[in-house]
């Protein structure tokens, strides 16, 4: 039994079982809060906890799946490239908006975490939370954050955008669909984008463009912000 549990097969199977099963259930519950990825993580944590299975045993298989995060991140160049023609008409306006949003995302996340009593580790964990998960994981691990917690924060940020995004746009009276898309993609990556797509084609496209650019900008900005923090504030 323990031999089976510590072989890569177990972790790979458990992860796929949870994800495929919960994705199937998602088709019935259309609510954006029913997030198969987050629920898979919770399900697997509960299984490991209840049966007293060591995380390292699970992770023999987990590592096999997580290996593909590296190439998948590189592969994000393809959708970014495809969306780049959208930049043609108003590159300056779009880049300025996404760059500002990315910067505000890092700073506000870190400052708010600090104000709510978060440790330095928690501040660094939250810093990349606005961007797509594979990029956020890398930014988190190379800047002193805790990648598994960053994953949770990224999903929460995504759900906030998916649940509140369009309503928030109404509340602040922003009617321009390009601005709406850029805003939702910059703040809540793919999860927000899946809702933006339902609002309209333009919202979806610019939200998609913002995912990639916000990811690149944030990966450059976080080390700079962290450097400034360490140099002048501690």
């Amino acid at each position: 039994m323990s031999k089976v549990l510590s072989a890569p097969l177990f972790g790979v199977f458990l992860t796929l079982f949870a994800y495929v099963g919960l994705s199937k259930m998602k088709e019935k519950f259309k609510n954006p809060l029913f997030n198969p990825t987050f629920l898979s993580i919770v399900f697997i944590v509960v299984v490991l906890y209840v049966f007293g299975i060591d995380y390292e045993d699970y992770n023999q298989g987990g590592r096999v799946i997580a290996f593909f995060l590296g190439p998948a991140t590189v592969a994000l160049a393809v959708p970014i490239y495809k969306q780049m023609e959208r930049l043609r008409d108003s590159a300056l306006e779009i880049i300025t908006s996404i760059l500002t949003g990315s910067f505000i995302g890092i700073i506000s996340g870190m400052v708010l975490a600090f104000l709510f009593g978060g440790s330095k580790e928690i501040m660094l964990t939250i810093a990349p939370k606005s961007v797509t998960t594979p990029i956020a994981i890398e930014i988190s691990s190379s800047n002193g954050g805790i990648p598994p917690l960053t994953v949770s924060c990224v999903i929460i940020a995504g759900l906030v955008g998916a649940v509140l995004g369009p309503e928030l746009m109404k509340a602040i009276k922003v009617k321009n669909p390009v601005a709406q898309g850029l805003s939702i993609g910059t703040a809540s990556h793919g999860l927000g984008t899946s809702r933006a797509v339902q609002e309209g084609e333009i919202q979806g496209a610019f939200s998609g463009l913002a995912i990639g650019l916000a990811g690149i900008f944030t990966s450059i900005l976080v080390p700079i912000v962290v450097w400034v923090f360490v140099k002048f504030l501690s």
């Binding site: 991140t73 590189v74 994000l76 393809v78 594979p134 949770s152 928030l168 321009n176 850029l182």
Partner: protein, 119 residues
Amino acid sequence: MKFLKGFTVILAFLVLGEIGAEFLNLPIPGNIVGLMLLLLCLTTGLVPLKIVERASDIMISNLALLFIPVGVGIIKHLNLIRDQFLPLIAATVLSTVIVMVITAKMADSLFASKHKKGG
């Protein structure tokens, strides 16, 4: 075979990115350097889109599966989550709302002033 060819090209860029980041001592993670290099090569036409398109689509459409094992790592930090629950949740939610408001207002006013100028 088409998938394997594209996957191999993507892995090559990952290797290049990792080596580049390490060699130049960049603070940016190697796979993001790889992403930027591939984007550069797609833009300049050095790598045709169709070589990497299929492999990229397959990985990206299953992205949500790939980070589950990292996410499960929270099991090692359950005490930390209990202690830092408020800053984690509140900062993430509030910051996300702030980013949406500022980005939307910024883009809205930039586009409005552009159109006023007749651009």
